[in-house]
Symmetry: C2
Subunit: 238 residues, 2 copies
DNA sequence: CCAATAGTGTCTATCAGACAGTATCGA
DNA sequence: TCGATACTGTCTGATAGACACTATTGG
């Protein structure tokens, strides 16, 4: 490598892109419709520049708040983690941009807010987004995010971040089935969740879902942690 | 976010830092001794600028080859993956630098090569490196790398990337014990490894270790993959 | 009533942990 | 011979998968 002269470095733009996932009937992702070239009219992930005086993590939090319109209070329920950095030379046709992608799991689905370079922002089923021609390398980023989310549901209690502020075990199971695309046995799922320390905490309420049926115990997220051994799906991972 | 004008972006320097791990008697990491300020005289992780015409991934591969002195042929046995991006505002006192940290698992321990901003390069036990005052935020990066390596040994067959070009099951077990800092039952370890498809392939040879004992079957890495369910340690993860 | 959901119980195959016992090397 | 390693076998407790059964809601 060349001598480390702080004034003669190759200049890059650094951005954050955020994959915000929620589960309603299906697994959905927040996308914006780009209003400017390149990729004007295409869907893209929300994101933006890291500012000179903020950390990469802070930029991700700021962008998440801006695009979802969530207030600081509600934002605490959203799980946000770094996903990976995408730095192909030609990933942006205009200039050299390195993007630090993040994964956000939201228990709620707020009305999104379009940024300045976006015409609109909306929630889209993940299947639909993956089938559409996304801008830049955002297909790759979204795909990595869904893989990561699915893997994390296996060995962490993060599913509670997608199940709403509170939820029944049936709703929590629906989160797993939506992310994994695979049905689970109700009895075994219940046994595993209730046996895992820090997964869920009963609120004392009971609630009946939209489609009737017996009222179920309502839970809220526990202290969190890992499942050891994991709760596993059939298909191969990695 | 501001309007996306490609000519008015906040300029960043983007670097790659690499945590190269091997197992000999202990888990060891490749460090350099910095020759220039800041942190002149301190140990640091090898790394350098991402060049304007190379991807972040390519920069990591280049730096790995430069610092380890490994030829292209030998380099294929080294596992290299992105670890995470570190982008605190003041992580480099001179300027705004965002670093994409990588994790490399090497089956061999070549004589390292010092870069231009380094006085020396050497292998150091990880415990020792974590106890020393590393430059920049490299303590945080190294710590994250060891955590990642330990976690990956649980559910992947990556330990073969640390066990040498070929190895006995005793040597492979020593990799696990070195990374996890925890003894394992020989019989149960053997059963799990041999039952996992694509983990190891017998070469037909037998070999006696340095300290005598019966000669063991020699294996080489298999096609790789995941362990399902994982091979697990005692302590809590995440 | 029926469809849909919630909750409990049970059987079984599998597997990890623990550990005993034998065999083969170098010194 | 002894220390160290390699390898095999066995018992047991825990648990995931499969599935049956009952109970409670809305329509």
């Amino acid at each position: 490598m060349t001598a480390y002269d702080p004034r003669s470095f190759p200049p890059f733009a650094v951005t954050v892109d955020i994959v915000v996932l929620t589960v309603t009937d299906r697994l959905e992702v927040l996308v914006i419709e780009r209003g400017v070239d390149p990729f004007a009219g295409s869907w893209a992930l929300p994101g933006g520049f890291v500012l000179p005086d903020e950390s990469v993590d802070a930029a991700a939090e700021r962008e998440l708040a801006e695009e979802t319109g969530l207030t600081r209070g509600k934002l605490e329920d959203v799980h946000l983690e770094q996903l990976g950095t995408f730095g192909a030379v030609d990933r942006d046709p205009r200039m050299r941009v390195v993007s630090v992608a993040h994964l956000a799991l939201s228990p709620v689905q707020p009305e999104p807010t379009a940024g300045t370079d976006a015409v609109a922002a909306r929630w889209v089923p993940v299947d639909e987004a993956l089938a559409a021609p996304l801008a830049f390398d955002h297909h790759q980023i979204l795909s990595a995010a869904v893989d990561r989310a699915g893997a994390k549901l296996e060995y962490t209690t993060l599913a509670t971040s997608l199940a709403g502020l509170d939820f029944t075990l049936g709703e929590l199971q629906h989160v797993y089935e939506s992310v994994w695309g695979q049905p689970l046995d109700r009895a075994n799922f219940r046994r595993k969740v209730l046996a895992t320390q820090g997964f869920v905490v009963p609120t004392g309420e009971r609630r009946t879902g939209r489609r009737g049926g017996a009222p179920g115990t309502v839970y809220c997220p526990g202290a969190g942690g890992v499942m050891d051994p994991p709760l596993m799906r059939d298909e191969v991972r990695l």
